[in-house]
Amino acid sequence: MKKLINDPQQVVREALEGMAAAHPDLIRVSLEPKYIYRADAPRPGKVAVISGGGSGHEPMHGGFVGYGMLDAACPGEVFTSPTPDQMYEAAKRVHGGAGVLFIVKNYSGDVMNFDMAADLLRGDGIAVESVLIADDVAVESSLYSQGRRGTGTTVLAEKILGAAAERGYALDRLAELGRRVAENGRSMGMALTPCTVPHVGKPTFELGPDEVEIGIGIHGEPGRYREPLRPADEIVERLLDPILSDLPFRAGDRVICMVNSMGGTPLLELNIVYRKVAAVCAQRGVTIARNLVGAYITSLEMAGVSITLLRVDDEMLELWDDPVHTPALRWRR
């Protein structure tokens, strides 16, 4: 295992300390329990938007804490859901009296830990709503009762809901908007190479020298199939076809499109991927109203790419364009 780390057991703590050192103007960090929160929290009268999940997906979620996005993020161990005390303490620290919105990726661990935190908070008289992201079309949702995994749409939801909270949306309206975002987002990813969890020390799966995994999850969970490496344009089709036909996205739809590096794939390749994504969408009459091309929801150093399309309406688009200032996403501020 070749990584720039010190102690595999201390990876999350040390990365949090690094983040705190790098962004004192934006965030603060609690180490016991672990959470990242806005330097200017609590914001009275504003719904606190909180997310979290296993570490190893940076910049998500900690990199999205700040003005116009998250109030707090709770990082678990690498690829392991955070624990309820993290969300509970984070919420107590940042809530501004207008309730708490949890944005949760649909993994049973995440769901249960956030649920337990919500129970604890409600016990303290704090209103809590949850938005569940389950957007990974690689999982056939009808077949498996757990539902789909949550991936790229989470990033877009955090931006849009964060902006809405900043505008003063009340909790129920925010939750309703969140469900609308969740329903309209679809993602799928693929891997060229595996990744290695620091405290495990060896790759989470094996791929042959010319093999790729189509439909992989953000923890290296197996995808739909393995096949020989093909040209980028064909890989894009293999990811976009299931995405487009699932919602389905139709001619005339406007979308926010994210082309996301799994961690080890450089921007040069992402731009080649985006080129084809734009061409396919144009051909289908789907308008890419906004885009993100970069590393936003990663799987450690895994090489590969995921594509997310979110069908948007005017409200979502306006909220998307609202100012945001976080370590990893920033505009108009």
Partner: protein
């Protein structure tokens, strides 16, 4: 013969040892149909738990279980954290303030705790989860006690039932948890959570057997 605080403490201690010994095995099982962290999660959780108990051991059974539940809840993470956390918190609730617990009370508390786990995970027997080990164990415990055997023998039989339930997860297709994303490809693998649950019951049987 009643269950004492000493036995409960010894039980938790023994679980921690068994998890440590089976850490890599649990992780291997989780690698096949999950994300290869169940061993690490459980080991981290029970190390924290044992340390917490060592610092200031509570002096009733309910308080011990509550401490265990809170420790697991805040240190295991993943799916197993809230599930085992719920399990021990529910035991703590059922047995609050007790320094000795009768066999029957123990069986009832265990049934309630397993039901709480099932509710938390929205899982039932056959979903290929820890419930597949826990539920048969409770059944067998109650059946054995009804037959009039000692708690030690009854726990022995419960542990055996848990192991049987654990092995029975192999041919199942997962309906809950991370393994469910694999669909048919989850078939043919033993569920890691059912395996750790069987270890919990084995630990209990061992502790009662040594008395």
């Amino acid at each position: 013969m009643d269950l004492t605080t000493e036995q409960v403490l010894a039980w938790i201690q023994r679980i921690a040892e068994l998890i440590r010994q089976n850490r890599d095995y649990l992780t291997q099982l989780d690698a096949a149909i999950g994300d290869a962290d169940h061993g690490a999660n459980m080991d981290r959780g029970f190390q924290v738990t044992v340390q917490k108990l060592g610092n200031e051991p509570p002096n009733d059974v309910g308080a011990i279980f509550r401490t265990v539940g809170m420790a697991l809840l805040s240190s295991v993470g993943g799916a197993a954290g809230p599930l085992y956390g719920t399990f021990f918190l529910e035991l703590g609730k059922q047995l609050a303030g007790r320094t000795a617990v009768s066999a029957q009370e123990w069986a009832t508390a265990l049934r309630t705790a397993v039901a709480a786990v099932a509710a938390r995970g929205q899982a039932q027997v056959g979903d290929k989860t820890m419930i597949d080990a826990l539920a048969p164990a409770v059944e067998e415990l109650e059946r054995a006690l009804a037959e009039g055997v000692s708690l030690a023998v009854a726990m022995q039989r419960a542990a055996a039932a848990a192991e049987e339930g654990m092995r029975a997860t192999i041919p199942l297709q997962a309906q809950r948890g991370r393994a469910s994303y694999l669909g048919e490809r989850s078939v043919g693998h033993q569920d890691p959570g059912a395996t750790s649950s069987a270890l919990l019951l084995t630990a209990a049987a061992e502790i009662l057997a040594t008395e």
